[in-house]
Subunit: 335 residues, 2 copies
DNA sequence: ACATCATGTCGAACCGGTTCGGTGGCTAAT
DNA sequence: ATTAGCCACCGAACCGGTTCGACATGATGT
């Protein structure tokens, strides 16, 4: 391994001059700069990022923390952050919290110990104590998808109440009144907002919500499956089901198939978020989708800005809310 | 930040003793050890991984490099490696090469500069020069999925010729003779082996293969779509199609749906590898699946063994080949 | 009683960079 | 001619650990 000292010796300058040449070339004399660059070429010198991190107190790594990388939604965001990160010289360190707040916290602390430059986080914790933890974190954090009230961090997400409002209005328009709603964990911001969107739209339309038709599927496949099963085995089963995310929506479809119900003839279905290959699933599911790529873009830009400049670090936190898009499928029919 | 020197001062020992206490407690006197641990508790000292990496010349990070994290297959493997890694104190640094060999190589070099402890790699490069690059890499590497001849590294994968052999035999048994095969990039080991499995089974059964029915879909959704389109728009279109991986297989299904063909009534379909939610796709696709979790387990174990012990580092490379499993769906019918 | 050895601890060098307070030489202002 | 100021460069301290050789002490062997 050739070090900065080897380069200095070869170029007959001090190591501090080499360091200068590397970091602020304009502050070094033209001829000297030339000699140094020659020496770098001929030795094949590559700066040691670890030593640099130790000396600078900050690495060129960016952290990406989410609940479930298997979910295409997070995958798309990750890809975008990784792309922009690499372009700016950052490596992306990925960690999957599996939706566990305690694990997520441990991960964040480990990332911080690595002197990571910044973190993109889809939080799974909640509550005041957690918000304080996030607020006092010294490393720049940009939150996406899940907003944590009181964390006072940049946030990039979608208009979540709107997602379910759109789907609910759509179903109401088709004549549905008994609508089952498979919600997410009430510790999650998006889950609460989506539930709110549903409830408000229903009551706003003068339709009373049967509370037993609102179930909590944990945003997961297994949770969604169990709850869809509960909804569909009832005598007075709903005429339509809304899945608050892609996992629970598809789980509901799976249950319908397993139980021999036909969608949409027997039960209508709509959900929030897309999945890969949704266009080969029969029936094409009616959904509201978020622009994951755009979300990733915004999150990455904001994070890089925070990291790069001192003024970026002190700017007040900002929210970026995108409007989701309605995609009509064939999984909903007029009653 | 409290450092090792703070702890040393508080425990009234030298910093080297604190370091000893941390790394080989049995070499430190009981009473001294006690004082040091007290000091650690009371200061809340946490070792700085960056400084440790610099001093040791090796970090506690593991790299995971694959072509497409969005593909569930890689996702499952990643999850397993991450799980085992975390259990052993390793963080997993993920990088997506997007299937580009040059990018992959750059990523590997960056990982090495981070003094990463080990790498799990699904290679996308090929050729002798690339094999040499991998062989001479100083960091432990365990390869999975894609074997690179001459790299002389541990390899964890499936019996790839068998995957397509099984599918081909299945289709032959159903009376199919004109079978379209959407292959992967011939720079990839798995693609070649799967193609070989198909060709050998066909000729072994005395069936001549129409070379124009063997196309190269690049293992990607778009490539698979284009090639499936070519196959299905022919007058003498095949009666069955095999997708060499999940992307191309599903792309073929998508084309069938777009063109109004019914599967399996008009064209039969089979593919290698599963996708999430395949059980809500109609028809249920006949496939041969790899045990991704088991693959991840093996890869992680092997990598950790290489990293942990000096004898592990010198052990000769070994191949671990798993047998894939046939999953019969309803996408293939008797002619 | 003396050489031998194991045990516990320490000092100092080292890993490979960054950064800050100089210093010497040269030009510009007074 | 003197002072001021700037430019290019350097020395040394520092980031926070690890590791190795040395040393003091007390136990063991003969």
């Amino acid at each position: 391994m050739t070090t900065i000292r080897d380069v200095a010796r070869l170029a007959r300058v001090s190591i501090s001059t080499v360091s200068l040449a590397l970091n602020s070339p304009q502050r070094v004399g033209a001829e000297t700069l030339d000699r140094i660059q020659q020496a770098i070429k001929s030795t094949g010198y590559r700066i040691d990022p670890v030593a640099q991190t130790l000396a600078r107190g900050r690495s060129s790594l960016i952290g990406f923390v989410a609940a479930n990388l298997g979910n295409m939604f997070f995958g798309d965001i990750r890809r975008e952050i990784e792309r922009q990160g690499l372009d700016n010289g950052y490596f992306v360190l990925i960690a999957d919290s599996s939706g566990r707040a305690d694990l997520e916290r441990a991960l964040l602390e480990r990332l911080e110990a690595q002197k990571i430059a910044g973190i993109a986080l889809a939080a799974n914790g909640h509550g005041e104590e957690y918000a304080t933890f996030l607020r006092d974190f010294k490393t720049p954090i940009v939150m996406f998808d899940q907003k944590v009230e009181g964390a006072e961090r940049d946030f990039v997400g979608s208009d979540n109440p709107l997602t379910t409002t759109i789907l609910t209005e759509h179903l109401l328009q088709l004549g549905h009144r008994r609508i089952g709603f498979i919600s997410g964990p009430n510790s999650l911001h998006t889950a609460n907002e989506r539930l709110k969107g549903f409830m408000n739209t229903m009551t706003g339309a003068g339709v009373e919500v049967d509370p037993s038709l609102v179930v909590e599927g944990g945003y997961t496949r297994t949770g969604g499956h169990a709850q869809a099963m509960r909804l569909l085995t009832r005598r007075d089963r709903p005429t339509a089901i809304i899945g608050a995310n892609n996992m629970t929506g598809l789980a509901a479809l799976q249950v319908m198939q397993e139980m021999g119900f036909r969608c949409p003839d027997d039960v209508s279905l709509a959900m929030v978020d897309d999945v890969p290959w949704s266009n080969v699933i029969t029936p094409r599911i009616t959904m509201v989708v978020q622009d994951a790529q755009k979300l990733g873009e915004l999150a990455a830009q904001r994070l890089l800005a925070r990291i790069a400049s001192p003024e970026g670090a002190t700017a007040p936190p900002e929210d970026f809310i995108l409007t989701p898009r309605f995609v009509r499928g064939e999984s909903t029919r007029r009653l």
